[in-house]
Subunit: 325 residues, 2 copies
């Protein structure tokens, strides 16, 4: 029985990876500092008896070294995922993303664990000038500390592949939707509508265009290329990057209307104005996913269905809104 290591394993994406790894007959070590991870997301996994939970921070090198040793592969999903508030404390992104990833790579090197799948982000593409944006687009200008830190992580991983014989996969996601969705615009809108069902304030002019993807489509892609086909092995640099997203996008204003309708409301939408909701909010996110499609993958869920499912999940799990902005 193989043992996998999932950082951020109690988080949105990580906990789904944990579930799937266990379903496929593996053992899993969840490494999570529970700053945003949720015990409720991993109760099922723990109950299978196939899962060890380590409450630890990626800045704790000693614990990390001990924990990762003996694993088949690492799914590195832990991150400070709060793009919007990055400017309030720039230490979050460099510590929890860049340095955390470096520490993890060092722990892997010491423990002779050399396969890693990494949750990168479409945010590394900044304000791209090419749509849909392929993996081979021009070197972007970073517009958020979060995007800059994710790009720094990609660079670290690929140089470990080149220098130390690692096998690496970086997945640049659009925003994900689905069960266990923990933050983002659907979350914000549902919460605002709970407080005041008559109106919905939307940051920006509502014309921001975004692509979203269902968590299960995301997992299908990751498991296909990193576990089944192991496509990094076909690359000169033992490293592969994939863009993951939907083949469509949606305006924030449309998404707002879907959310209002799914909640059975008739709220009036008020826009704060401006082409961005906040500094670093990229007005257009739409990825070219043809590289991933050429591996035999296609996203199965539309954006609209995914938004509706996410609204329902939040409404059925109101505890997730406690103490959140």
């Amino acid at each position: 029985m193989k043992k996998y290591f999932v950082t951020g394993g109690a988080g949105f994406i990580g906990s789904h990876i944990v579930d799937r790894l266990i379903r496929e007959g593996n053992k899993v070590i969840i490494y999570d500092n529970f700053s945003t991870g949720q015990e409720r997301f991993i109760t099922g996994a723990i109950n299978t008896g196939k899962c060890t939970v380590i409450k630890g921070d990626l800045l704790d090198q000693e614990l990390l070294d001990e924990s990762v040793s003996g694993c088949e592969m690492v799914y590195h999903m832990a991150a400070n995922a709060d793009i919007r508030h990055g400017l309030e404390n720039p230490y979050n992104d460099i510590e929890q993303n860049t340095i955390a990833t470096f520490n993890l790579l060092e722990a892997m090197r010491k423990g002779d664990v050399r396969r890693i799948a990494f949750a990168s982000s479409a945010a590394v593409l900044g304000e791209s000038e090419q749509f849909p944006t392929p993996e081979s687009c021009a070197i972007p200008i970073q517009t958020s500390l979060y995007g800059a830190s994710k790009m720094a992580c990609e660079g670290l991983i690929s140089s470990y592949c080149e220098g130390y014989g690692f096998e690496g996969y970086a997945f640049r996601f659009v925003s994900l939707l689905g069960p266990r969705y923990p933050h983002g615009h659907v979350f914000d809108f549902v919460k605002k509508l709970k407080n005041d069902p008559s109106r919905l304030e939307v940051l920006g002019d509502g014309k921001q265009r975004k692509s979203y993807m269902h968590i299960e489509d995301c997992l299908d892609a990751i498991f296909l290329v990193a576990n089944e086909k192991r496509t990094a092995l076909q690359s000169k640099h033992n490293y592969q990057v994939y863009h993951l997203g939907n083949q469509e996008y949606i305006e924030v204003s449309q998404s707002a209307r879907i959310i209002i309708a799914q909640m059975g409301l008739t709220a009036e939408i008020e826009y704060t104005g401006g082409r961005q909701g906040w500094v670093g909010d990229n007005p257009f996110v739409f990825l070219d996913v043809s590289k991933m499609q050429s591996e035999g993958w296609d996203p199965k869920n539309t954006i609209e269905d995914s938004v509706r499912e996410t609204v329902d999940w939040i409404n059925n799990n109101e505890w997730v809104m406690e103490g959140r902005q």
Copy 2:
């Protein structure tokens, strides 16, 4: 009289920047930990009385905060510049490049100093597939920890431009040549020939193609766009990247022959073989410098003349070889 802050101001590039800033009538603060910086490089600057030297490390946040405050602009030239031995200690690049740059940006933010020119590197381009390589080339795969760290620094600087209103310039250099040249292939070859004038061992097959640039050409470019024209102000993101190099390249074997001839020797060249001298040695480095040329700049020194001048400078400054590999 304006005051400028030069990190790595006692190093190869930094000390030349210091000299030029003083020549143009400014005051300068040199911030250097003297790990590779040389007091002899700044004796002239110190003697003008326009220069303050602070022996400090960029990891010393408190000293850095105090030192940078009140300056007009920062020239950030300090780095771990040893690409070749990066794999022996991966902490060097993340600490002395990535974290050091983050600390510097934080010091600037606290001190309200918001202009920065940064010594990036052609190494961030990895093994490019486009030659000559423009600023707008495809997102590269990082092949060295050094390149990865310089890309991480670029991302930090551009996100500080976007988020905190900084004005940033990143210059991706090819390897530089000229007076005060402290390390690199000319240095290695001269040193080997001093030890044994009859033969020269060259790492790789000698067919690696590299572009080089004279330090004075590099300085002309930096001062033109970052001080005179301040071109970042024309950019949506208050940030500009320039590729700096020569419009020609040279094979390592040719360069070896020029060096042997300039030393008046007839050494036999022995190649260790392989397309790279070491892991991360990019077999072809040749930058498209047309963006910089469109600003009204042209490199004035050929590679051959620059190599010859560098050989002569090393031979006239043998002290620089003491204690170096």
